[in-house]
Symmetry: C2
Subunit: 257 residues, 2 copies
Amino acid sequence: MSKSPADSLFENEKEYLRNVSVDNVIFGYHDKELKVLLQQPFSTGKWTVIGGYIKRTESIDQAAKRIAFERTGLKNLYLEQFRAFGNPGRVRERGFTAKKINEMTGKKITNDHWIFDYFVSIGFYTLTEFSKVTIKKGLWGETCKWWPINEIPPMIFDHLLIIKEALKALRLHIAEYPIGYELLPEKFTIPEIHALYQTILEKNLDDRNFTRKLIAKGIVVKLKETKKIGAHRSPYLYKFDLEKYMQALKDGDILVF
Amino acid sequence: MSKSPADSLFENEKEYLRNVSVDNVIFGYHDKELKVLLQQPFSTGKWTVIGGYIKRTESIDQAAKRIAFERTGLKNLYLEQFRAFGNPGRVRERGFTAKKINEMTGKKITNDHWIFDYFVSIGFYTLTEFSKVTIKKGLWGETCKWWPINEIPPMIFDHLLIIKEALKALRLHIAEYPIGYELLPEKFTIPEIHALYQTILEKNLDDRNFTRKLIAKGIVVKLKETKKIGAHRSPYLYKFDLEKYMQALKDGDILVF
DNA sequence: TGAATAGTGTCTTTAAGACAGTATATC
DNA sequence: GATATACTGTCTTAAAGACACTATTCA
């Protein structure tokens, strides 16, 4: 059995910062649904967002990117920090004990090991186009799965709060960062982008006004191709004019729906 | 000599979290100038924002409040977390050594002491009405002083960046949180609130449009008193209608200048 | 009466929002 | 031709922004 990051975590304690971790809410968009990548550690029945520890040699952004890479295989994903979580009770959880970890991993640690300490967690969200991702297993082979944001399973610790806060940040950032660009494939239809914005903002947006705004500002450009999706009129494909999109975000005069 | 928090810091290491700290950018507004409270440690010539470590028994918000209290004497100040700072080089600084600390404080520590580690710092900003504050000295009697945000002195580590990011957050939050309410005294004049918004947003706001908006929404209420300020027409005093202010912020339809 | 600051009204331009019918593809 | 989805145009209302003069106080 070869060395895994899990071995490193227990054997090279000095490699990591103490009392700080990164939790990374990885969002993907597919079939007009916004999803979040979760993993299930130790068969506890509860799920976690994709988290990990910070190496002494890396910045918190690098740590968040590395952690996302370990699960998605994608480098240089778009990510934003949104807030930190820290209070003494936040990592207490029934079943998260040295005994349990020993059973699951064979590693001999005790309950005073630093991973049971009170951790301040730096929350990031990551945006990625769903179809690019090939999910990789966790440190100890935990399963990972995309969950629609309206069907989040039972979460460990305060991880449900972390997801909710990430969503709140996403909503706030939609007028500031190129969130559409990061979550959609290169070519997309108007109904797809329309549904994405409605999902993130959790409200209905008039389709006529929405489309007019995007096209009038030159943010999206119509292509000659259409997408065949069965027994109805085929929607045209569009792509972003990234320069105009970024300019519109910068001017702040746009995409405030 | 009685026990100080400084003694606790070195003698009760276990009381604090490792590799995490809080840096608190404390803003005050006075004489139409936005100021920030800084302290100068160890006579290094450089200044720092008001920072400190997190106790194992407190949340990061409680830590930020405690740290602000230790310097201002004010409890329950309004504060917001804005982002975390963390990269391996951030706390390296010429002169910040065990030897220097020993000279300044008499404490015997070595250069492998944890306070020289790479720290992730959680950035908060705090808003307080300038006139309420009686500045208290730092752990080792360092001087503290209000500095106008346009005349920031040389700062240690990445603390200039921290101030700039706090300002950026303040600017973003002005349409979302009751920043005017927290920074102004109970009674204020239109020119004062006008100058505050201009300072924070770093742009000129048409005085007629600005005033009309505040009054039309009922956010500020004219009082019968005027403020005597020398050889000119005396400006009326106003106060906030906090309920209407909060409602306007919530609706998001206001104070986006 | 001059200097300095406080205070106020109108008009134009632009964006937001409400609203419903036509077009196209497939079965 | 029935059905399901794609697509588009006009009108109303509200907010933002540009603009300049009068009022008060005191030296």
